[in-house]
Amino acid sequence: MSLHGSDLTLSSTAARSLRAAGTRRRRSLPLLGLLLIAPSLALSITVIGYPIFDVLRMALFEVNRFGRLGDFVGLAHFVDAFSDPIFVQAAWQTVIWTLSVVGGTVLISVPVAIILSEDFYGRMIARTVILLPWAISLAMTAVVWRYVVNGDFGTLNMTLSALGLPFANYPWLAYPTTAFVIEILVGILVSIPFTVTIIMGGLTSIPRTLYEASALDGASTVRSFTSITLPLLRPFMQIAVVLNVIYVFNSFPIIWIMTNGGPSNRTDILITYVYKQAFVFGNLGNAAAGSVAMFAMLLLFAALYLTLTRSTETAEND
C-alpha cells in the first residue's frame, strides 16, 4: 500500500503547485491581465522611469542652469560633486543622521511594541497616541517642533524654566550640535509609529502556544523573551531596519524646515544638499550627480530588502 501512499503525495503536490501558479483560468486571460496592469505601469514608468533617465542624462552631460543639455562630460559632474567639501560633509552627516535615527527608533520601538501588545486598560488610547505622529505631515511636525524649541518663546524652554532648569532663552537651533541632535530626536519620534506597527505585526504572528509550551517547560519570562520572541521577531526587525534606513536616508522636510541645513551646512544631509544645488544655486549637473549617487545607494538598500524578504519567505516555507 505504500505505493499508493506515495501516489497521493505526488498528486497533492501537483494540486498545490496548480493552486500556487493560480492558473485556474481560461486561455484568453493573460491578455486581460496585461491590460489591467498596463495603466499602473504606464503611470509609474512615465513619472518614475523617465525622470530616472533624465537625471542620469543630466549627470553625464554639460547642463546649464536652465537645464539645457550640452556635451557629454563623462564623470565630470561626479568629480565636481565629490570634491565639494560640503558634499563630503553632508555625506558624513547623512551617515550620522541615518544611523542615529534608525538605531534610536529600533531601540525604542521594540519595548514599546511589546508593551502595546500586552493586555492593559486603555491600550487602544496609548496605541493611537503613539501612532499619531504618523498621521501628521512631516512638514507640519517640523514646523511645530521648530516653534517648540524656539529659544525665546518656545514651549520647551517655557516648560524647562518652569521646572527650574536654566534654559530660559537657550537657542537650540542656533548651534549645529544641539540643532542636529534635536532633528535626530524628531526623526526618531516620527519613525517610531511605522516601526512599532511592523514589530507589533511580528508579535501577533508568534503563536501564543509557544509561550505556553515554554512556560510548561519551566522557562522564565526573560528566557522565553530571548529564546522565542527575539529570534522569531528577527525577520520583522531586519525589514523594519532596512525600510527605515530607506525612509530616513530620504527624509527631507524635518531638516529643510527646521534648519535648512544650517547653521553653515552643519545639518545638511545629501538630500538637502542636492535640493539646494538644484533649486537654490541652479547647479543642475552637481545636483544630478548627487541624485544618481543617492539613487544607487537606494537601489542597494532595495536589493537588500528584496533578499531579506525572499530569505524570510523561504525560511517560512521550510
Partner: protein
C-alpha cells in the same frame, strides 16, 4: 499580576514617549488659542487667557488659508481617485489573473515604493516644466498617484486575496460576466479594503511636502503644508499663533481619519509589506 497593576506599569513605561508625542499637539492647541501679545510675553504659560478663536477666522478669511486647504483637498482627492483607478485593476490582475512577468512587476512596485521623489525631483521638475505643468495642480496629482500607487496595490492585493475565488466563480456560473461578477460580487466585498486604501492614499497625499513645494511655485496654488512652512520663513516676526492655528486646521482632520484606520494598518502593513 492583576490587569490593573499591569496597566499602571504599562502606562508608566510608556509615559515619556506619550508626553513627547503629545507635546507638539499641546503646543499647537495652546498657541493657536493665544493672542499675539501672549505668545511673545516674557511670562509664558500653557493655558491661554481665554477661548480666543480670532486666529482661525483671520487665517481663513484674511490670509486666504482656506484656499490652501482647498488646494490640498483637490490634490489629495485627485491623487486618491487616480491611484485607485490604476491600482484596483492592477491588484485584481495580480491576485486573480495570470500575468506574464508577475514577479517582476511585484518587485518593480516594491522598488518604486522605496524611491524617494526627492532623489528624482530635478527630473520630475524638468518633465512637468516641459509639459507646462509647473504651477498646475494636475502635476502634483499625477506625481502623487505614481508614487503612492505601489502601496495602494500592495494594500489592495492583501485584501483581494482574502476574498474567496469561489464567490466569483459562483457568480459566473450564475450567469454573470467577468465584469458583472467583479462589480456586483467582488467589489462590494472588498469595499472596506478599498476605503482603507483610499484613506491612506489621501492622508499621504495631504501630508506630502517636497513635490508640492517644488512644482507649485505660485502661492495661490500651494497646499496647506507648504503654505504653513512658508509662513515660518518670513524675515519679519513669525506669527506663531497663526501658524499653530493653521497646523491645527491641517492636521486635525487627517489625525481623526488616521485614528480610524490605524488598526487596519497593523494587519495590512505587516502582511502586505513584510511577507
Amino acid at each position: 499580576m492583576t490587569k490593573a497593576k499591569r496597566s499602571i506599569l504599562c502606562w508608566a513605561a510608556l509615559s515619556p514617549l506619550l508626553v513627547v508625542a503629545i507635546f507638539p499637539y499641546a503646543t499647537m492647541l495652546s498657541t493657536a488659542l493665544k493672542q499675539k501679545d501672549e505668545v511673545f510675553a516674557v511670562d509664558q504659560s500653557w493655558l491661554p487667557r481665554g477661548l480666543y478663536l480670532d486666529n482661525f477666522t483671520r487665517l481663513l478669511f484674511e490670509r486666504n488659508f482656506g484656499q490652501a486647504v482647498l488646494n490640498s483637498l483637490t490634490i489629495s482627492l485627485g491623487a486618491t481617485l487616480l491611484s485607485l483607478a490604476v491600482a484596483i485593476p492592477a491588484a485584481y490582475a495580480l491576485t486573480r489573473l495570470s500575468v506574464p512577468g508577475k514577479p517582476f512587476f511585484r518587485n518593480y512596485l516594491l522598488i518604486t515604493q522605496m524611491i524617494s521623489p526627492i532623489v528624482l525631483i530635478i527630473g520630475l521638475f524638468r518633465m512637468f516644466a516641459y509639459f507646462g505643468m509647473i504651477n498646475s495642480q494636475t502635476s502634483v496629482i499625477i506625481a502623487h498617484s505614481a508614487f503612492y500607487m505601489a502601496f495602494a496595490v500592495w494594500m489592495l492585493q492583501s485584501y483581494f486575496a482574502t476574498i474567496p475565488r469561489e464567490l466569483e466563480e459562483a457568480a459566473w456560473l450564475d450567469g454573470a460576466s467577468r465584469f458583472t461578477g467583479f462589480v456586483r460580487v467582488f467589489l462590494p466585498l472588498c469595499l472596506p479594503g478599498v476605503v482603507v486604501t483610499a484613506l491612506f492614499t489621501f492622508v499621504s497625499s495631504w501630508n506630502e511636502y517636497a513635490m508640492s513645494l517644488t512644482f507649485l511655485r505660485d502661492a495661490s496654488q500651494q497646499t496647506a503644508p507648504v503654505q504653513i512652512a512658508f509662513l515660518t520663513g518670513t524675515l519679519y516676526q513669525i506669527e506663531w499663533e497663526m501658524i499653530m492655528a493653521a497646523t491645527l486646521i491641517a492636521s486635525l482632520p487627517v489625525a481623526i481619519i488616521f485614528a480610524f484606520i490605524q488598526k487596519y494598518l497593523i494587519g495590512g502593513l505587516a502582511l502586505g509589506g513584510v511577507k
